[in-house]
Amino acid sequence: MAVFRKPDVVALQELKSADDDFPASAIGKAGYGAVWRGQKTWNGVAILARNADPVLTRSELPGDRDDREGALYRSRRQRHHRHQASIFRTANPPARPKFDFKLAWLKRLKLHAAKFLKAGYPRGAGRRLQRRPDRARYLSDSVVGTRMR
């Protein structure tokens, strides 16, 4: 991805790699510092910063002490500026109770985002959230429900 435009900040999702397997040295050779949160299966997210070392400030959303997955929240401080970038991704749970977990997680995300917006920091976020698509054939697919919007 970095080869296309040399972006300053890259948000990656679906790492499909455990923490230990994350190719940090190869990414470093390409000129990027990285923070990541791997998962063995589909999920896992990372933030890369060109010629900088991102600082991890949070790896789970507040509000659920048992939550060990689904969120990553990273920020980057450089010189006197405070740049913040976050990436969020949650699984596409096909069935309860994971579906309920995701709905609760989205609610926590909303609360947390509201707090930051109130503080007024310039802030960017990458997210991947299933939105209900317009095509009818997807409506039977349980990963995308109207409540996920």
Partner: protein, 59 residues
């Protein structure tokens, strides 16, 4: 504008995609947005992810 095209049923030529990936800016950051887009060409590459890179340029 889409960011995702499934591996099944050759969705790219039909542009049967989904808009799954978003870049969100806070009100304080939004005025610095210059442009935004999706690199569709990356999706057409051999062995590509089913998501294409979405990008923004900030001033």
């Amino acid at each position: 504008m889409y960011t995702f095209w499934d591996y099944k049923r050759k969705p790219l030529p039909r542009d049967a995609g989904l808009r799954l990936d978003h870049l969100l800016l806070s009100p304080a950051l939004a005025p610095r947005l210059i442009k935004a887009g999706v690199d569709r060409k990356a999706r057409a590459e051999e062995g590509a992810s089913d998501h294409a890179p979405a990008w923004i340029v900030l001033r």
